[in-house]
Subunit: 309 residues, 5 copies
């Protein structure tokens, strides 16, 4: 454990109503890896196996079929945490116990089912997170979907239990369905709304996608125009999302989005960092490349956040 | 704690079947702030983040993105209570512990979902209210909606638990759907019916919208005509709603409705006060203005009720 | 409590499998008021607030907006019990504690919802009945409705809990929907069937509407014809319903139906009494009149049953 | 609720691991009555009825037989809290709901039993405290007694539950038995040890007797001599006890001890205040005098602490 | 988190039946502070407040009255963990969240009681350890005492719960009473027996006192003579104790015993390290000195183990 930095101290002060157990786990997430102490985080999430099946997830880099590879990638890259479903976490939790903070992804969707589009299955519990040595549970909610209220109720229950037992709660907030257009899923108003609702649910860490320069809800357009919310650059849009999360007083991390070229990705992340984000969650862009390339990419991303700290 | 006034004593006497814990929390709500002891209440509710998203809620006064600002606004304005969802309550519950009675809003709707129009998600629990030091839980029900029976059953469960643990129950009763026309949602018969059902459910404090001079249900028209229920002025209509709440023996507060000009709002509230209402819940009209203006407005509203007491 | 009469002793003997707690509460219901010891009951039920809203329920006699008025009416009229939803019971349960047996109506419907026609919301619990000092829970079921099986399962659960905790169970059995024609809801075969199913569910007291001289179900017509079940007079039809309730070994009470003229109502009740009914439940006909008139009416009804005993 | 003072803010900061519910209740205790906001407390405890029976407790001032008298005494004297066993709390909790913070004394001893000298009976629960609207539970432990370990285990259980439900924990720590001489029960080393163990148990507020200038345990004498702990004046001894409670970072209040003359008592309390104590618990010296005298005495005591703040 | 060393990997492999949560917490204990990764540990335990009272514990270095001082001492000295009872842990758990692994001492004895010599009171729970962010619970058992079987059963229960929830279990095994002579409490056979029984109970970390060159139990003397167990030097005796703990496959740490001169202590610890111990628990020798001296001493002790690694 390293000495606490002023930045980490400030961040922990935002979580005033949490017990020391939750704060200790947030501390662990914030003081691990190359970004330790900076208040910035880079996280490796691997739940694409549920989402897209094994081949679409791992065939381009077959080493990644083995969960141990994913643990090692996160550890060697000096990341802050590794997030995955229960089966993947189990395959490595003992071998790498304590070496990297773990986020147990407790719900997941898959692409075989044609119904249930807007829902996920709860596949693990808070007690699983404790027995596997995790720092946090991770939960995905789909604002806008027909199942959203049910997902909120599941999250409220699990979050209450996690907090009581000293675990942090990470919420992936992915809008879809309802009044949201397909393209609008990453519109600025929608992403900000989704992030804000995660904060209102009591999330400790919020994960959303980088927002685009568009407003999707008609009801919101007048507001954005009148308030002249700057949204030209990605950095400006990130700033708006951070503001939507209790005036920047919640940890917010952004996905890298679709797989893309290295430079394009690093450029995008530089904008995200410039906007004040706490970090990035980089999945496919990392584990679908050969290890050396992946480490190289993650090193550049970590450097972006180190510079921004 | 102040000495009990005859008015507060009378109000507490209405809640004859509640245990002393619930009464002590009602006492706290009635003896805090500038209206302490008058039997009148002004409450700051902030759940628009769920309902309309962050920008529509806070962009016109960006200070309000920070939940601490909302706590301070309620405290500095000398209000009786602050009501919000769990995430917002958590961000301030420790800093401002004990300084303002808190109502934990335990369910919420949002405007991304196109379905679920008539339902809300339960996002917090009675135990959350206890650990966060709240005086009451707040629950919204939608009389008329297809989900109404389910909401009633959720409320019955949570209210029973809250009462056993000494917490008060505040019910937001917002009719919609079913046999109710869109315009009729604030018709006099509908608002009175909605308020009455909240009383029948055992609500300690009832929150409805100010009623319009119209009768929406055909089945009710004959009754209103025959009984010559006065409904020309807002004050008369408020009187009818108060009567519908056990002959005025429940605390009933009214929203200010849509954001509007200051004078118009104060005029409306004067009518509400004249009709015998216990108070107002003022959200957007308060937190969407710059702080100085908001304090000025709230001061005027408080004065209206002080004069009416 | 008075010494037990042979009639009450006989009635209690019917409930041979209930524990002494349930029997003591049935004893209280049977030994209160002017009909104490006769085996007859007149009960004041007030759940029209949920069903029809406050104005349609109380505008014709505004004193009735105050639940204390309803308690006093039942007590002063010398009735056996007062039945109402939780909020109304709470407003008086302490003031009038022990002065009148209470039946907590634990489910209710309302007329704002256009869906859910055949269901009710559970709005209170057996524990609520205990803490409020009630003798019984009251539950409405709708034989024939799409929700009937669900309602039966709710009743089975609540009845089991009530009995275990020494409370009696009163079942309002109101057929509607399914194979039942609108007019047939009070057909003799339907009412008898509905009453019988309440008995089969374990109800201690059964409440149905007075049956008409018609058979609604085609499948039943042959039987009624062949067996020559007498059904010309209301008294004959009541006799049939009583027979359908374990050969008269369950307490069955009948509603007065729609508000009507005093003499017509008393005549109808005389027929009901003549048929062997245990009593009447008189709601709107009682509380929608000025108090003096209501007491006068109730006095006549009580006299009818006193004469029949 | 008053605005928080720097002193109250500092005190609340000591309870860093408690949830906002516990802090809100500590806030209430610290912001009620004439000493509101000073960080000082005067508390009226009345559990002598258990300890010495009614006549020895109340015959000298028969008004005090009525628990309402005790509530009124605490309220009129502007004290911070009233502490009593469940029966006494119940007789007044509704009448005075919210007017004075309540500490539910959850265990008690009596002087009829010849055995059980070193134990107390648990006579109420955390849930009782919630339903009665109390801010805290109060628990007596007897360090040194044969039953001490059992009492610690009861306290650990009840304290855990109280904290989870947002209630504060007050521990009366009264050494007796074991290696402690009769006279040594209020020896400096023994009182400091007893107070320290209450702190180690997680007590939020600690209540001990004022210590005498003697060291009772042989094993401790060398330490006190070597460290030259000042103990000549009562103020010095109080300072040592405060130090023993986490270097003064716990609220510690002292009893007035045996009934004595007013001036002697006020002098003693002046010394206690000078030593840095947070306040006094004054029972018999208050309620065994006529009300006017009691109010006069309590006023002088409150003034002592007001001057010391 | 640092990369795992071969030594830590080996140590974790001994705990083959523990879940990854327990292993992650053992990893934390083994990879914190100056000895991180060496497989050696130095732990600061402070439960003398219960055992000997505040003055005997802290008067020689009054800064230590404040639990924050103890946290800082452990952190600044680069130790592996800090162990204390619940009250002390709470006073610092939030301020220093995550900065030092915490062992919640869940039972404690005191020296006021003359009875209960061979028992301790359970003063905290596994759930307390979770909410306070601890890595392990610490439990003392007294092999030989009349209460030993009871203590074992308490330990079995708490250890089961701790392991299921991912917490490690540290057992202080202090023989006394029964067939053990006073002097024999630290005899080689007795210490080895006590350590072995802790291992048999499933302890993850075992804490015993350094053994003397004597055999206490007559029944054991023949065995030790026949087997010629070397016991002349302390290092030899430590080796024997390590062997008794599953052939060295459990983490065993030794106390420094009574406060003594720095050089004498370091010499003793050098012998302990030479014998293969995993580390030392240094309480009074550390916190009863002025901070600079304490840091100097702890630095020398840490160096001893660093050299031995």
């Amino acid at each position: 454990m390293t000495t606490i930095t002023p930045k980490v101290k400030e961040i922990l002060s935002w979580y005033e109503s949490e017990n020391p157990g939750v704060k200790a786990n947030l501390f662990r997430l914030l003081t691990t890896g190359k970004l330790a102490g900076t208040g910035k985080l880079v996280i490796l999430p691997v739940d694409q196996g549920f989402e897209h099946g094994p081949a679409r997830s791992f065939a381009s880099n077959p080493d990644a079929y083995d969960p141990h590879y994913l643990y090692k990638l996160a550890i060697e890259a000096g990341l802050n945490a590794y997030a995955a479903p229960i089966g993947s976490i189990e395959q490595g939790a003992e071998t790498f116990a304590g070496q990297i903070p773990l986020i147990l992804k407790v719900n997941s969707a898959n692409s075989l089912t044609s119904g249930n589009i807007g829902d996920q299955a709860v596949t693990a519990s808070v007690d699983d997170a404790l027995r596997l040595g995790c720092c946090a549970i991770g939960f995905t909610m789909y604002p806008g979907s027909d199942s959203f209220y049910g997902m909120q109720e599941e999250l409220a229950e699990m979050s209450k239990e996690a907090k009581a037992k000293g675990l942090a709660t990470v919420v992936w907030s992915y809008p879809r369905g309802g009044k949201i257009s397909k393209e609008g899923e990453t519109a600025l108003d929608i992403v900000a709304y989704a992030a804000h609702m995660a904060a209102l649910m009591g999330a400790n860490i919020i994960k959303v996608k980088p927002p685009k320069a568009m407003i999707d809800l008609d009801a919101a357009k007048a507001t954005y125009e009148k308030a002249r919310v700057p949204m030209e650059t990605l950095a400006q849009r990130i700033e708006h999302v951070m503001q939507a999360c209790f005036a920047g007083k919640r940890i917010v991390v952004f996905s890298g989005g679709e797989a893309k070229g290295t430079d394009a990705l690093v450029d995008e992340i530089s904008q995200i960092a410039k906007g004040g984000a706490n970090g990035s969650i980089v999945g496919r862009n990392a584990f679908q490349r050969p290890k050396a390339e992946a480490l190289e990419l993650l090193s550049r991303i970590v450097q972006v956040y180190a510079n921004a700290a």
